[in-house]
């Protein structure tokens, strides 16, 4: 694909980013568990901007690699410079490699805006590191897909905390030449007697435990799992046991997306969990691959641009949010990264400017039903995210420990 062909240098950075994206997790549930706060979660009282004033002339941007390209990786890839020309806000971009890193950097107050994944957002809000965002001041907010507004991971009690950027689902991915019949459920990746033993590729992050929980939601209704990120001890142990069984058929746990792409192309992997962007890359190399979201749904990510509570450039920060959530900025970033853009009009931009009219269909950008099937990455906390109060859930720190144990 042109998008990726244009940026080999960024590939590694992106891979690191994506790996990082996967890493930390904090926010809440899927869109159907949506709305408002997670089990009594209270946001600190941070003032919100009421109106905008003169631009300060500078903005410091903290972003996933590929979200704010200023031409330094590839002179042809630059949507930061037009923003600077339009607004007079000189942008300084720093890329981060993981949600944990983003969280640490945001504490400093040196960065005005951050592109936070659903696994960092609630921790940023809870820590008081980001401020509520007045969406009336963002002209492009109206064009954001409705299912990305006021979700559990970017708002608290109906108050938005940022501008949605884009989202994507983890796909059940397979080589149609080898895997017959085609897999229809994630459970096919957890079959200890799978004929594809040694060629199954699982995602290398504790958050992948949620994928096992998603399978259990379907196969073992007795466990009564309603949200794969809200697991009590018994449910958690069942998910871990399932993953330990899966360990026997796993060929690789991947976190570098270029490595997984290569493994699919060379036939080292034939069945696994993957991303749309990887599927596209493999297809571009004319190798057999299929990616689907099975009926039971998928895990995935959704990113939101947030504003530091200690920002000294609030007007430029709003200008950036409006730009990056607008038809030009959002289209450029989502197209470059390979995800569904949050802004509905971004699809038109991609179709006309980038001459890729099928892009948004490929990523199901406007497909709310598809988006609803996704359980967005969320940091599991002791307080059950599904609202249960009679039991404690297993927090992320325990997920991380169990993950080491699962891999053995």
């Amino acid at each position: 694909m042109q998008r990726t062909a244009a940026l080999p240098a960024v590939r590694t950075a992106l891979a690191v980013a994506v790996a990082g994206a996967v890493i930390a997790l904090s926010a809440c549930g899927s869109s159907d568990s949506s709305g408002g706060s997670a089990g009594g979660f209270k946001a600190p009282d941070i003032p919100m901007a009421k109106k905008l004033g003169d631009k300060e002339g500078a903005v410091n941007i903290l972003a996933w690699p590929g979200y704010a390209e200023d031409g330094s990786n590839d002179p042809a890839t630059d949507w930061v410079t037009p923003f600077e020309k339009d607004t007079g806000c000189q942008a300084t971009v720093k890329y981060f490699g993981s949600s944990d890193e983003a969280l640490n950097l945001m504490k400093s107050g040196d960065y005005d805006v951050v592109s936070a994944s659903g696994d960092a957002t609630l921790r940023l809000i809870a820590g008081g590191y980001v401020q509520p965002v007045n969406t009336d001041l963002l002209t492009n907010y109206a064009d954001i897909q409705p299912f990305l507004k006021n979700t559990a991971y970017n708002s608290v009690g109906g108050q938005m905390y940022g501008m949605p950027q884009g989202w994507g689902a983890n796909l059940l991915t397979y080589n149609p030449d080898v895997v017959k019949p085609a897999p229809t459920s994630w459970a096919d990746m957890f079959d200890a007697s799978s004929p594809y033993q040694g060629k199954v590729s699982a995602y290398d992050s504790p958050i992948y435990i949620a994928d096992a929980a998603l399978v259990l939601m379907k196969t073992t209704p007795d466990l009564k799992i309603t949200n794969p990120y809200a697991l009590d001890k018994k449910q958690f142990d069942a998910a871990v046991a399932l993953l330990k069984k899966q360990r026997g058929i796993v060929g690789e746990y991947w976190s570098d997306y270029a490595a997984q792409q290569q493994a699919f192309e060379k036939g080292d992997d034939v069945l696994g969990t993957s991303w749309q962007v990887i599927v596209n890359l493999v297809e571009a190399d004319k190798k057999p691959i299929q990616g689907v979201v099975p009926d039971e749904g998928s895990t995935g990510w959704s990113d939101t641009w947030m504003i530091n509570s200690k920002t000294k450039h609030v007007n430029c920060a709003y200008a950036w949010l409006d730009y990056i959530g607008g038809p030009q900025g959002n289209a450029a970033a989502a197209y470059y990264f390979g995800e569904a853009p949050a802004n509905a009009k971004a699809c038109d931009t991609i179709a006309t400017v980038d001459k890729d009219p099928t892009f948004c269909d490929t990523f199901h950008a406007a497909d709310a039903a598809y988006a609803k099937k996704i359980w967005y990455w969320t940091t599991p906390i002791s307080q059950c995210l599904d609202g249960r109060t009679n039991v404690k859930c297993v927090p992320y720190s325990e997920w991380a420990k169990a993950w080491t144990e699962i891999k053995g």
């Binding site: 809870a126 060929g251 927090p395």
Partner: protein, 279 residues
């Protein structure tokens, strides 16, 4: 003049010369290590992952009580031993040929050939092996399918660290006088006997010196494991994930005690062989 005692100015000069490196060694190098080890006795908050600076032995007790960490530690030591053995077996004949058989011109060419891979990035070499071991890679097309996992990992690490074994062994063999080999042959010893009773004992310290490199470099590796190790985990991976994924620096620090201890024991054991003078 030459008999003059070093004056106070010489002391100042020595101080200026040694000061910065010593400061570096003491503060930046050992200081960082000390900070790391102190961190091992702290813990982290659940939601914010901030380090809580209160003394606790929790990290060490979970290290000891949970079998997974023992499994990973023993696996890592096992891999390090295997890689060292593979490298020693490969390095001996190569180094012997270089030092005792090859003409000076060939010798120089071979030294360059051995050093050449060190000019390429570690990552490039590891990814090259990923391609080699792949199901559709060159090895597979020759009917030798290895794939990603323990065997592939040992091959890759053995390749990566081989120069560090060849060079000390080569240096050791160069110091071995050719007359010793001739004397042994004159006294009727076969080539095998000479090798076993003359060559090996005299270059043993060099072999051990090389093994310090291959062993310690393998102990600390975690990147090659990710690239060619399949689902395998080594100590380095667990530490890396404790920091990067779990944001649990204290536990990572506690686990870092394991390779440090293993290396201390190893160095203590090889101290008497004279290997440390052959590094």
């Amino acid at each position: 003049m030459s008999l003059r005692q070093p004056g106070p100015r010489a002391g100042v000069a020595t101080g200026l010369l040694l000061g910065p490196p010593l400061l570096w060694l003491g503060v930046a190098y050992l200081g960082a290590l000390a900070a790391l080890l102190v961190t091992a006795f702290f813990s982290v908050g659940e939601f914010t992952s901030e380090v809580i600076k209160v003394f606790t032995l929790d990290n060490f007790s979970s290290l000891l009580s949970e079998p997974i960490y023992r499994t990973v530690a023993f696996r890592t030591i096992g891999i390090a031993v295997l890689v060292t053995v593979v490298d020693a077996v490969l390095a001996l004949p190569i180094a012997f040929f270089m030092a005792k058989v090859a003409s000076p011109r060939v010798q120089r060419a071979l030294v360059i050939a051995v050093l050449m891979p060190l000019w390429a990035s570690y990552l490039v070499k590891a990814y090259a092996w990923r391609a080699m071991l792949s199901a559709s890679g060159p090895l597979s097309s020759m009917g030798l399918h290895i794939g990603y996992g323990l065997p592939g990992l040992i091959i890759t690490l053995g390749y990566l660290w081989l120069p560090y074994m060849i060079l000390p062994v080569y240096a050791g063999l160069q110091r071995l006088p050719g007359s010793l080999l001739e004397a042994s042959a004159d006294l009727g010893a076969s080539a095998g006997t000479t090798f076993r009773r003359v060559v090996i004992p005299s270059i043993f310290p060099s072999l051990v010196a090389g093994s310090i490199f291959t062993f310690s470099l393998t102990m600390g590796d975690y990147i090659a494991v990710k690239i060619v190790g399949g689902p395998t985990q080594m100590i380095g991976n667990v530490i890396y994930e404790s920091v990067g994924t779990a944001n649990n620096l204290p536990f990572a620090a506690a686990y870092a005690f394991v390779p440090i201890l293993v290396m201390l024991v190893y160095l203590w054991a090889v101290r008497r062989t004279g290997a440390l003078e052959n590094l």
